[in-house]
């Protein structure tokens, strides 16, 4: 083997990277999770606190930033790796806890396990994440290193065999990369689940001169943050996947379309591209071969619709971000009219793993039709919010009850919303549906980008459907009739229902319109926008019925259908708390000393109900909005 073949060049780079990484491991390393989720929870302050405390004590330790490990409920968090101890992760950090950890663990030798979440390596003293139920179900492929590695340094990626898949592929025929991805049946993680290998092959066959590779990082679903996390925490993994794709299809230029609302992702990716160029993984003659490919970041300007393929291309070409009719598909006529591969962030992230470990390995995880893993952002009424990665085929029940540790006390499961505004709401009876592209579709939801919102008895399904529809209606580009006007009328009808207006005919009318918007719209935004409405109508029809027939909101959410009432039998003369909590002075003291609400003044802000001490619990919401006295009077 000559010294200039890609493998040897890569081995040299890796050796150097390993030396640099190992030299850092000689002293204690504090890794603070500073992805957007961590920063929002105060991680930057925690990082400063660590640095200051270490400085005060005159210790020799390094504080670095890492991405998100997925346990967002415990942010801000940090991992302390001290030689002689297993690396330990601590959550819910504040200045007091930081002080204590520095004093006891870094200066002393007590890892303060009482504050630890888990260790990262097996040991005799403290359990690891794998020992918890979540760890049993989770199988981290693309999230494996997210939050455990320094995203700002390429050597931390290379030292753990990063870019080895590229070196391996470059020593072989590009066709082998394509064959491997095809054989692995890697399905697009953007939501639709189209096989990536087929897409690449179509592009290769169509491309005579130029082909472009674009990564879709325009993640915009409310409550979804998987792509952001991967881009922020492990940018080189995505870059390597894109370079491999470019090698397979023969592209020379690629772009990462990242929404401008993700400034940290943009910054991390830009830095990663710089570093990859310096090391020769990007640019001309990659790893000494005659394969050249370069990448650039393109920032989206905030339109949800630009996640749609044709709208994304329009926006990159300087036109209004609006969808076009298809065909032609992007693989025929994409960016600048040339065949274009457009894949989601996560899809690209799987590619290096597949090249390194093989299609058979990939297919051994998940289900035959949907191999690999699924990444979800778990949010809503669930104990462990955060990012999880589970094999396809895991059931929703396992995901919610085991991985997410179930619902908080007092919460009763009602529905789970999957796939964001294009997805659907599934009830308890659908919880044993395995998570894969086809099963979810059958149940009426979609895999979508992977947002998963758990809802309980206090969530009104009509209000939930209205919430998602308000989002899509707002994000409709306005080009086609069904989406522009149809979603507007759907929203108006739903608003009426939350006010108790309408009848069973209204519900039928809403269903028909939803079906027509689904079948008649130009692009997938309009085609999927009715999903939350159609699924709630299908699974929670009684709740809709209660709104229009009885003027009652069973979840006590819809403001026009509830009133606040202080139950005299529960109220105490000795307590005044609710009076002070009311912003509109609607609460007064009756002659007998108990409190009551002036319905004319009440704005239903819920402050009094929250303020009322638990031993009384005297503030009730009534639906339909009829006072107990009135009911009797009416009965007479």
């Amino acid at each position: 083997m000559s010294k200039s073949d890609p493998q040897s060049i890569y081995e040299n780079i890796k050796r150097e990277a390993r030396l640099r990484v190992e030299s850092r491991q000689e002293k204690p390393l504090i890794m603070v999770g500073t992805a957007t989720c961590g920063v929002a929870a105060g991680a930057m302050q925690v990082k400063e606190d660590f640095a200051r405390e270490i400085d005060d004590k005159g210790l020799d330790a390094e504080v670095i930033e890492v991405g998100c490990i997925g346990h967002c409920y415990a942010e801000p968090l940090a991992i302390i790796a001290k030689p002689g101890f297993p690396p330990v992760c601590y959550g819910n950090l504040d200045d007091g806890l930081v002080h204590r950890l520095v004093e006891d663990f870094l200066a002393g030798d007590d890892p303060s396990y009482e504050y630890a979440m888990a260790a990262l390596e097996r040991n005799d003293e403290f359990p690891t994440f794998e020992d918890f139920p979540r760890g049993v179900y989770e199988e981290k492929l693309i999230l494996e290193h997210c939050g455990y590695a320094d995203f700002s340094k390429i050597e931390s990626y290379v030292a753990r065999d990063g870019y080895s898949a590229l070196a391996k592929a470059l020593s072989e025929d590009p066709k082998l990369v394509l064959e491997e991805v095809k054989e692995a049946n890697l399905r697009g993680r953007g939501g639709a689940g189209f096989p990536a290998g087929k897409k690449w092959e179509a592009c290769l066959n169509n491309g005579k001169d130029e082909i472009y590779v674009i990564c879709n990082g325009d993640e915009g679903d409310p409550g979804a943050f998987m792509d952001r996390s991967v881009l922020e925490s492990d940018p080189h993994l995505v870059l390597e996947g894109m370079i491999l794709c470019a090698y397979a299809v023969g592209a020379k230029q690629g772009y990462l379309y990242i929404r401008a609302e993700y400034p940290r992702a943009v910054e991390h990716v830009r830095k990663a591209i710089e570093q990859a160029r310096t090391k020769g993984f990007l640019g001309s003659s990659i790893l000494g071969t005659n394969f050249s490919f370069d990448l650039e970041v393109f920032q989206g300007s905030g339109a949800f619709i630009c996640g749609e393929a044709t709208a994304l291309v329009n926006s990159m070409e300087g036109r209004t971000g609006m969808p076009e009719s298809r065909p032609p598909r992007l693989v025929q006529q994409g960016f600048r009219g040339k065949p274009t591969v457009l894949n989601n962030v996560k899809t690209f992230a799987y590619v290096p793993l597949i090249i390194n470990k093989g299609a058979e390995w990939f297919k051994s995880i998940g289900t035959p039709e949907s191999p690999g893993t699924a990444v979800f952002s778990l949010v809503g009424k669930i104990n462990n919010t955060g990012l999880v990665e589970v094999p396809m085929g895991t059931t929703l029940r396992q995901l919610i009850e085991e991985v997410g540790d179930g619902l908080p006390e007092g919460s009763q499961f009602k529905a789970v919303q999957i796939g964001g505004p294009s997805g659907g709401c599934l009830p308890e009876s659908a919880l044993d549906v395995p998570i894969d592209f086809d099963s979810l579709h059958e149940a009426g939801a979609i895999m979508g980008s992977g947002g998963l919102v758990v809802m309980d008895q206090e969530d009104c399904m009509v209000a939930v459907a209205r919430f998602f529809l308000e989002f899509t209606q707002n994000e409709s580009c306005g080009k086609c009739t069904f989406c522009r006007l149809g979603t507007k009328h759907m929203l108006d009808i739903l608003t009426d229902i939350t006010r108790g207006e309408g009848d069973l005919e209204t519900l039928e009318h809403l269903k028909e319109l939803s079906e027509d918007v689904r079948d008649g719209s130009l692009c997938n935004l309009g085609r999927t926008a009715p999903n939350p409405v159609l699924t709630t109508l299908r699974y929670f029809y009684d709740e809709y019925k209660a709104h229009v027939e009885e003027g009652r909101c069973p979840a006590l959410v819809c403001r026009d259908l509830i009133l606040y009432y202080i139950k005299p039998a529960k109220c105490s003369k000795l307590c005044n708390v609710c009076v002070g909590s009311c912003p509109t002075e609607a609460i007064y003291t009756r002659d007998d000393g108990l409190k009551a609400i002036d319905q004319e003044k009440c704005v239903k802000c819920d402050n009094c109900r929250k303020a009322c001490p638990t031993e009384y619990d005297a503030v009730l919401r009534l639906s339909p909005p009829v006072l107990p006295g009135e009911k009797e009077r009416k009965a007479k």
Binding site: G478, T481, R484, L485, G486, H489, D492, E512, D516, L522
Partner: protein
């Protein structure tokens, strides 16, 4: 490969040039399909009015005729219960945002919406959808014509005429979603814009949103 293909539309054998779009083939053969936004010269169809749905054998969903290239042996039905349902809903949605005072409209009896209603037996009335209450300012700044957005169906015929026939570029689409409108740069009155008042846009308007002042009825 021959330049011509044979296909069937509504049980009729039709010859057509390969690569042509189904909508134009049907119209050229006097087979009516409702349409507002389609422009024959436009390479990539707008496909935004969503009225030209037809059934094509082998497809499990109605498809828009303006986007579909004809193929040898293609079998098309311009009517079916699913097609009629979509056209009806699309049409009623457009009417819900359209000024329905036909008698006051200069395009009365010369209006594409009226043609669609007549051909498909649809009523020019607000039926299932409440009319959207919106206020538009009338732009009567040009000498001979005016622009009443309360009648505009956003078909894009005027912007095409302005840009590609007149080659002026005075008007275009702006805003998003339900607020999408045709207007000038910076929303100036037409007379204050770069508009040359060539009136090609007025001739292109299928519904009387852009109209000659001399045709005004009220």
């Amino acid at each position: 490969m021959s330049d011509y293909i044979t296909m069937i539309i509504d049980d009729r054998e039709v010859k057509a040039r390969r690569g042509e779009k189904l909508l134009w083939v049907a119209l050229d053969n006097d087979i009516y399909i409702p349409h507002l936004c389609a422009i024959k010269e436009e390479k990539r169809p707008n496909a935004s009015c969503r009225l030209c749905f037809v059934e094509i054998e082998g497809h499990n969903q109605p498809v828009t005729a303006c986007t579909r290239e004809v193929e040898e042996g293609m079998v098309v039905a311009t009517r079916s219960s699913r097609v009629d349902r979509l056209v009806k809903t699309g049409f009623e949605l457009l009417l819900s945002d359209h000024n329905l005072k036909c008698r006051e409209c200069p395009a009365n009896k010369n209006c594409s919406l009226q043609v669609i209603a007549k051909k498909r037996g649809l009523k020019l009335k607000h039926h299932r959808f409440n009319p959207l209450k919106r206020e538009f300012k009338l732009d009567d700044s040009p000498a001979e014509f005016a622009f009443d957005r309360s009648r505009c169906v956003l078909c894009g015929q005027c912007t095409w005429a302005d840009r590609f026939e007149a080659e002026v570029g005075a008007i275009g689409f702006t805003n998003r979603g339900i607020d999408r409108v045709v207007t000038t740069f910076n929303d100036l009155p037409l007379a204050d814009s770069i508009c040359t008042e060539c009136k090609l846009c007025v001739d292109a308007c299928p519904v009387g949103a852009l109209y000659y002042k001399k045709d005004q009825n009220a």
